[in-house]
Amino acid sequence: MKRIINYNAAFVIAIVGLFSTSCDQFENVFLNLPIDKEITASGSGPDIFERETICFTDYDSFNDNAEDIEEIKYVTSAFFTINATAGLQGTGIIATLYQGDGVTPLFSFTMPSAVADDYKNNPLKLTLNQQQIDLLNNYLANYKTNNCFVAELRVANVTGTSGPPYSITGKFEMVVELQIKL
């Protein structure tokens, strides 16, 4: 697919220019790329947590256009519960996104409710502040090396109507926008 884009790009920009003075729209194309990861955290507490790695290279949309990507920008993210131990709750359900090294945090978001079932079929948009968005975008600015994240799901001081052990499976979703040069 990338070959098609590259092969045609010169024709499009050069020849369309003969007929139109406003060919800006043919210089770049923008793609939304949704990425997601299921995370299962389990244990006896008091905190249960798990980490999973998400890489852009797991997605065709990234790989197909890798050489022509000019910029990647954060658009939005969300979390929802897929299943959990009955009555699972804690003092906090926390989603944290780290750089690919798994050490440097990009943002940490504590859900307003610490009851896992509140997010079942009811995803929560993770509303980030400008500083967090800037941090993410700065990381994404070097997407050639910074193309992985580590996502962590943690329930602090977990309890449930059954268990221990306790378990929660949630899904972290993020949408980024790729700017691709044609």
Partner: protein, 303 residues
Amino acid sequence: MIKSSITFFVLSVLFTRLIFAQAGVSLTALPPDEAKEYAKPLATFLGSYFNSGGYYSANLPKEFQFKFSIIGSYITIPKSQQTFKPNPGIAGYENLEETATITGSKGNVYLGSQGFISYPHGFDIASLPSGIYQAAGSYYGTELLLRFFPKIKVSDSETGFWGLGVKHSISQWIKEPPLDFSVQLMINNFNFEYVGNNPKDYVKTDSKNFAVNVHASKTFNNWFIAYGGFQYESSSMDMDYYFRDPNELYPQLADRVLSTNIKGSNNFRITAGGAIKLSVLVLNVDLNLTSQFTLSSGLSIQF
């Protein structure tokens, strides 16, 4: 001829890119009903394009006449065709705000019960130039018009085009008519197919465009022609494409070739224009009030 061929080629390449350039959430990442709405302005554009430039005079002599024309069009896409209201047909994703069509700008992202559903961005196109060449021969007040571009392979895709028109002078049967007037019928067909090795990139489209018109003209001093017409037209695009389902919301449709038919918004067209005859050369310009306002001009050799 060369320029016109190049222009047509540009259209083919543009079309190639419109379909393929978005490997992420793109036209081919939408289920058929949504792809239909997203791509509707493209089908309309092809209709506006191919249904233009069919005439600059209603006069057809009884003796043999030949014309070769190069036609350029400038087609504007109205704001109303830049967005559409998505309806993904999944519980938890109702009453969504508008998102971009293929000619629009920002594709929206919606959060529903199963997570995000992402719609493709458009190409932010407010107008598009295009061109075509055609040849016509007439005898006894009846004209046959031909448009043709052979199937060519561009990288991993193949594209081709043909068009046919028939026109008959009605005024020839009327004694001393105040105006010349004729009826014309045109069909134009544009094909595109991915012929590469990756089955996941498969796309095949077949754009069919139909027009029937009645037009009139008056020639002044044998060098200036004022003309106008009323046209009924239609456009539709059959599309087969490999559906990847990047939003993971349509597992029953995912990872196979789906088909859809996209109907353009072309219905009626009113044309008004003028042409100047300079010996065997004819220059014409016309305005077309249709779904996508079109300015069309032509340079013809007529003898």
